[in-house]
Symmetry: C2
Amino acid sequence: MTKALIYGTGSIGSVYGYILHKAGVDVTAICRSNYEAVSKNGITIHSALWGDVHYRPHVARSVEESSSHCPFDFILVCTKAFGGRETALALQQVVSPDTAIVVAQNGIEVEKEYHQLFPQNTIISGVVWLPASPVEPGVVKMGAMERIEMGTYPAHVGSQVKVEQLASLWTLGGGTPIVHQDIQAKRWEKLAVNCAFNPMGALSRCDGANLLLSSEMADETVMGVLREVSSVAAAVGYEPSERFVEENMACHRASKQTGGKEQSMLVDVKAGRPLEVEAIFGNTVRIAKEHGVQVPRLEMLFCLAQALNFSIQRPPGRWKPLMS
Amino acid sequence: MTKALIYGTGSIGSVYGYILHKAGVDVTAICRSNYEAVSKNGITIHSALWGDVHYRPHVARSVEESSSHCPFDFILVCTKAFGGRETALALQQVVSPDTAIVVAQNGIEVEKEYHQLFPQNTIISGVVWLPASPVEPGVVKMGAMERIEMGTYPAHVGSQVKVEQLASLWTLGGGTPIVHQDIQAKRWEKLAVNCAFNPMGALSRCDGANLLLSSEMADETVMGVLREVSSVAAAVGYEPSERFVEENMACHRASKQTGGKEQSMLVDVKAGRPLEVEAIFGNTVRIAKEHGVQVPRLEMLFCLAQALNFSIQRPPGRWKPLMS
């Protein structure tokens, strides 16, 4: 029987665990804050796609505890993208020679640490399109859309069979996988959207629709960010098409009539949670610098998002009280 | 006896009324939200500069009510910079041929509407350096610093005698005036600071010190904004010196040790008040466009500040509820 470990059982991890469970996979979920709830009640998903569904994974408090269910064919990393190195190190004890690690996180080059630590394993990069939010511990709400784009990292390294196997399971479980020979092109496209709507929404407290409604210049400013990311991608050999930029904007522009949704970073701000700033912007700006690409809008958003993160976390010893 | 009208008796207007009152001027204050309190108790200022001081101006609810104290030698416009045209029109009934209008507001070209409506009157442009905040209606707190830079608008139009007279009264009242032949150079310098620290602080919820402490790139990003404003100023013949940029940054950098102060726009955000976005950015970006100066950082901040303003005000009929 195929075995999978879900590392990080938030909204995304909960849904992915369900898809694999439905495909007949033996699923173990590492649950931290929601361990008690999931142990007791399993996981419930209220979805427009499948209706209300429920499943019971094996539940573990930690990687160590999950090791009783080894060996895993797939490990899905579904946490927010903080400290890839630490996560990779923690997973060492449950990675077998045949384990494929699926990095289902935002950002660019978030797979790198896993590939460096497990050079013989297949690393599958997943680009997640799944708006979902927590309702209470062990209960998740999602809409009618689920799509995962996947491919090996780096492209053409690792087992294509593993990717095809995961995609088949995904389809079997009611999900929508798209396999790419070089997933990085897709990752850059998702990154462009994340770089624009996520921080701009979080900083201004606007969902995507209201951001575009807020002033005449909003549309062109967002487009300016998308195009800066495109120019960085182009510098490393990926050229997100203008069509993609236009299609994505068309979707957000349409929401000016229907109402929009709050991006995850705005949800995090409202909940006082740390923001995924470094994963989204850090590598992007670094790559831009290495290739001499000018990205003043990205730098401004990176700087502001870090400052917002700083004011949310107020790290002791670094945050300075106001002058009295 | 010299007569002055204070239009907008918030923190700045309250302090300026005190300075003129102490110089022997007959002061009338237009008080809207604080009419009852000021009528009953006058105005109290807790200041590090003069200690605790108190005075009683004539109090009026409106321009019309203030007209019983006409004619005014000086009218000081001390409101936030919203709708200059409306304010100018409202003041028509109390502007005499000999009245000088002092525009003590943030932004660039905020004096223009007054000059257009009162082309024969002397328009005095005031660049305000006065950190002060309201404590309760009729009570203001300020520190040890007060400085106003002043000159006619446009330069060399209107009566230099009026400017000198105002400066003399200011000194007599314990204030610190600096007269400039062309005040616009100073206005551009103040604008540069407003364009950087005000919106960046409001968006990230950081005072100046914590903004600079938040990441390694914060300093250079702020400098990038200051330099963009400098390049717009240079395009219209004003070249804020690099020394000014450095001096101002030095002051903010020093606050990383002592703790900073919250900029007025952050105070407004926290109080849920509308933000002075248009006055600070609107004309600046328009002038940049007219002269072909690239200002991607300013455009981003303008866009974000407008979006933040939009989410604070949620104007009915324009703000769209979230998709359910």
